[in-house]
């Protein structure tokens, strides 16, 4: 069964304290791994897509990496405005050749001044 697991469920950091979020997956026919950010009361906002093992992408204080079984979202010197829920999702191909996006439960990040 296709599965996406994120850890930790919640993370509290001090401003400037770097850390990493983990996303492990068990799927067949991976077409891409996505990271989204979700603020309270809003829909998920796209951050990155990774397609193959070894790939890395960066955006401001965020860097996403991908291996064959997991992805990491590294947050360097976070600021309070980075507080949000970070969702990992895998896109797989299913019958008919269409794509399906399966989400993990998310990591709730709180960055305190």
């Amino acid at each position: 069964e296709d599965q996406v697991t994120q850890s930790p469920e919640a993370l509290r950091l001090q401003e400037g304290e770097s850390s990493s979020l983990n996303c492990s997956y068990t799927v067949s026919g991976l077409r891409g791994l996505f990271w989204y950010r979700q603020d309270p009361g809003k829909g998920p906002e796209f951050l990155f897509t990774l397609y193959s093992a070894g790939e890395e992408k960066e955006k401001e204080r965020l860097k996403a990496t991908l291996t064959k079984k997991e992805s990491f979202l590294h947050i360097t010197a976070p600021k309070p405005e980075d507080s949000a829920t970070y969702l990992c999702a895998v896109q797989i191909m299913f019958s008919g050749g269409y794509n399906k996006l399966i989400f993990g439960a998310g990591t709730r990040l709180a960055v305190h001044p």
Partner: protein, 117 residues
């Protein structure tokens, strides 16, 4: 570019009542998705449309949920009758590509929060 529009933003109903949510995707996006997000969980796909045809509704509780996408543009998700466990945020998303090759980026609306009492 205008985003994905959803309404209403909030709805409170009693169990066994009905409710409908509306979604207008980004212009030109062929694929439209409805997700259910229960508090503290990740979004779960309910139904996926390609233009106005259904390509996946395997997790849609068909005894109470229905959805349609007329003319391949906007979409309506209906729940009748509602149960307590339907309390959630209903997210609509759309993507530009035809969903048959590569990976496609979904753009989400702000969601419709349903509370069933």
């Amino acid at each position: 570019e205008a985003g994905v529009a959803q309404s209403p933003r909030y709805k409170i109903i009693e169990k066994r009542q009905s409710v409908a949510f509306w979604c207008n995707p980004i212009s030109g996006h062929a694929t439209l998705y409805w997700y259910q997000q229960i508090l503290g969980q990740g979004p779960k796909l309910l139904i996926q449309f390609q233009n106005n045809g259904v390509v996946d509704d395997s997790q849609l509780p068909k005894d109470r949920f229905s959805a349609e996408r007329l003319k391949g543009v906007d979409s309506t998700l209906k729940i009748q009758p509602a149960k307590l466990e339907d309390s959630a945020v209903y997210l609509c998303a759309s993507s530009f590509d035809r969903g048959t090759s590569g990976a496609n980026v979904l753009t989400f609306g702000a969601g419709s929060r349903l509370t069933v009492l």
